[in-house]
């Protein structure tokens, strides 16, 4: 009798408890999505700055990417489908970028997003990417927020700012044996990212920045920051900014006979920086995420760079090779490689799995590219370039 009652009550609790535990679980498996794939076309969307102050970046990137895509289309496409890129100008305006992206996903019904330019713009559209589960291939930004937490829809090709600043600190501390490192940064998401990266890298050597100077984006008010850094008597300055303010910073410090090692990151815009610095630029280091797109200073050109210059000349004869353009070209290479690996039946999930399968892929730039499950960061190595007589030279 007793046992019967106990059983009865136990079964009651089990029923209630069981009922409570079986709350509906949302499936994380996305349904196969073939949006943007037609019998003869693959629709790709891009929102980037084609006009405005950053117009140069977007234009160069698009030309680099399009030269390779047009090359692929002319040589038969991908499994007899041609890639059609719809690009919208966002003028480096995050709001416009968001608006464009919504339009691309909802109205243009593109298969994937491609070649976005800038940190604030790209960060804006992460919620849309997550909601639509649409892959975004190749962003012209090394922002940490696009890399952590790991998001399988954000496929980064170039190295991150963390990796660039890590390389910068390695160069300064290991190669130059300096122990007084200052940071000069732009007071925004981009600058903070670089600052954090530098601090993390320095921490590995048990060091902290001896001084930190900043300026507000869009202004050239570098004097206060410069003063702080001069006071600290730094031997090297890691600079996370844009060419205008960084050029002013270097020129001003040269005027004041303060000449530490200036170390910039790729986003600075090396060519313009070198032009503005003139003779002051001698010895300034800039880390690059792609090799310099130039034959002249290399005994034997890298095959990847050579191919880029070849296709660019063919499709955009008026355009000059650039770092940004080479990045766009490499983005296009990865997009095409991924699409080719998927096969005939292309879906977004299959595409991401194809991207994950790319391992030690040789782009011909002496920097092998690997993705994997939970690794959506393609290139990991950076290149050191030094300004020599107004030109950027790769140093080993």
């Amino acid at each position: 009798m007793r046992e019967g009652i106990i059983c009865l009550i136990c079964s009651f609790f089990l029923t209630v408890g069981g009922g409570a535990c079986t709350s509906p679980q949302q499936s994380d498996i996305a349904p196969e999505n073939r949006t943007g794939i037609t019998s003869d076309e693959i629709l790709i969307g891009s929102s980037l700055a084609l006009g405005g102050h950053a117009g140069y970046l977007g234009t160069q990137m698009l030309q680099g990417a399009m030269s390779y895509i047009r090359h692929i289309n002319e040589t038969g496409g991908i499994h007899s489908r041609k890639i059609k890129v719809t690009f919208l100008d966002d003028r480096y305006n995050p709001a416009q970028c968001l608006y464009n992206t919504q339009k691309l996903i909802l109205e243009k019904k593109v298969f994937a997003l491609f070649c976005y330019v800038g940190t604030p713009t790209t960060v804006r559209i992460i919620p849309l990417v997550n909601e639509a589960r649409i892959p975004l291939v190749g962003m012209f930004t090394g922002a940490n927020r696009l890399r952590h937490p790991v998001n399988r829809y954000l496929i980064n090709i170039r190295a991150s700012y963390y990796q660039e600043t890590q390389a910068a600190v390695d160069f300064i501390v290991k190669r130059k044996k300096f122990d007084k490192v200052a940071v000069f940064y732009q007071y925004d998401e981009y600058g903070f990212d670089g600052l954090r990266g530098t601090e993390i890298a320095l921490k590995k050597y048990g060091m902290i920045p001896v001084a930190k100077g900043s300026y507000v984006r869009g202004t050239l008010d570098v004097e206060a920051g410069l003063e702080k850094i001069i006071q600290s008597d730094a031997q090297a300055v890691v600079m996370i900014g844009t060419y205008d303010s960084c050029a002013k910073f270097i020129n001003l410090s040269m005027e004041r006979n303060f000449s530490p090692l200036f170390h910039n990151v790729s986003f600075v815009g090396s060519k313009e920086l070198a032009r503005r610095l003139g003779s002051n630029g001698e010895g300034v280091i800039v880390t690059q995420v792609v090799p310099p797109p130039n034959f002249n200073h290399m005994a034997k050109p890298l095959p990847g760079v050579k191919d880029y210059i070849t296709v660019l000349k063919k499709y955009y004869p008026d355009s000059k090779p650039s770092f940004v353009g080479l990045e766009g070209y490499l983005n296009a290479r990865i997009l095409v490689e991924g699409l080719t690996r998927v096969g005939k039946d292309i879906t977004r999930e299959k595409f991401i799995r194809a991207i994950e399968s790319i391992d030690h892929y040789d782009l011909g730039i002496k920097n092998s590219l690997s993705f994997g499950k939970n690794d959506y960061q393609g290139l990991d190595n950076v290149y050191y370039t030094m300004i020599k007589q107004g030109k950027l030279v790769l140093i080993k």
Partner: protein, 492 residues
Amino acid sequence: MNFFNELSLKNKIFISSLGFILILSILIALFTRSLLITGLTGELKKRGVGIAQGIADSSRGYILTKNLAELTVLAYDARLGNRKDMVEYLIISDDQGNILAHTFTTGFPLNIEAIVKNQEYKKENITSIDVDRHSVFHVVVPVKEGIYTIGSVQVGLDKQHIENLISDLRLVFLSFLSMVSIIFFFLSHRLALHITRPVTALIRYADQITKGEFNIISKNDLDRQIFATGAKDDEITKLTDSFVKMTSQLIQASKMTNLEKMSAGIAHEINQPLNAIKMGSEYLCMMKERKQKIKEADFKMVLEEISTQVSRAAEIVGRLKRFSRKSDFSKEVIHINDCIRSVNKIIGRQIFLQNIDLILDLDESVPFVLAHNNRVEQVLFNLFTNARDAVNERIEKSKDIEKGRITISTFSDNNNVCVTVSDNGSGIEPDQMDSVFESFYTTKEMGEGMGLGLPIIKGIVKNYNGTITVESIPGSGTCFKIMFPSHSKENG
């Protein structure tokens, strides 16, 4: 319900209290749920309106300049972070109801344009609608420039969000309720045990008393058994006391009933010596009046006869007193034949008057037994009257002309002293044989069956280490056989 009725008292209390707690728990759960839903729905609506108002304030300028990109940013900002779970969609429309910006990324719901167009957007309102199979609260907040409306912000609040919030709480709440129930499971179990232990003991003793096992009933014994846990309860103590008292009263009462039965015979018994005394004394008076001289021998004889008759009456009264006396369970060495004769003296006459032959077939050589006269007499008395009633019943029912006969015989059998009381009465039906020794079993009319009853007889016999058995043929008669172990000098 049958199942419940069959349960013991302890389990009844246990299940009732547990059931009560479970029902209460479920009611609390349902009540809390409805309270939560109401509260959360109100909160959701408030927050939805708050969000919409915030967006409405920020979007005024952009609506005027038709800056769709900034409006889109505003719309998406409303869904940032955790608010994404709550805000299903947000739409900014112009004063014509055309959608300027919205947060649909994967697909545009079919009916949404019509919904937005048909909203009464000039004043704040909340409606419940379905969008893409999603049940939402559609909040409309107007955007005003001066006193005129230039557009509206419309927010869809996911009702599922409330469900999700509640399902998070549900687990916590259910485990809490389960904890309470488990605690009550043990508490009610202990409580039921605590309440029912004394009662169970009382019931057990009541059962034993009806079976005649009086000797185990002592107040101390009962107390010790009932309050084994050391707990003492006034009510229960009183109950126990009165229970013990009533037990002895019960035995006494049944003896009185027996006396009532005897009264007719006793009256007759006493009448006889009284008549003799009266006759003697009247003779003496008459002789005195007539101034006749009584012979010396006659006078002496009359006086002796009066004296003898008085002694006889006194003996009858003495016997009655003895019979009705309260007695204990002490044991003494008695001769069973004495008891039979004594009972015969009390009731034999009465039985004879009812035209029933009472045959005593006593073996004078039977050994002594260890028992108590009074008790054994009571047992025999009851068996005698039972036999008489059975004979009368047969004669009444079947108009039988066969004369009633009750035979009492004693004999020894293997160190046992046996008494059989057999009659040629109505007998006992075979299907009732098993229950004659059970408590409160009677075939007699209500009010008639007030004797000690066979269970008590059995109890008394058992108490003197004896046994009682019965054999019966319906319609022909019954034989009760009592066996006591003989008491020899050797074994004390």
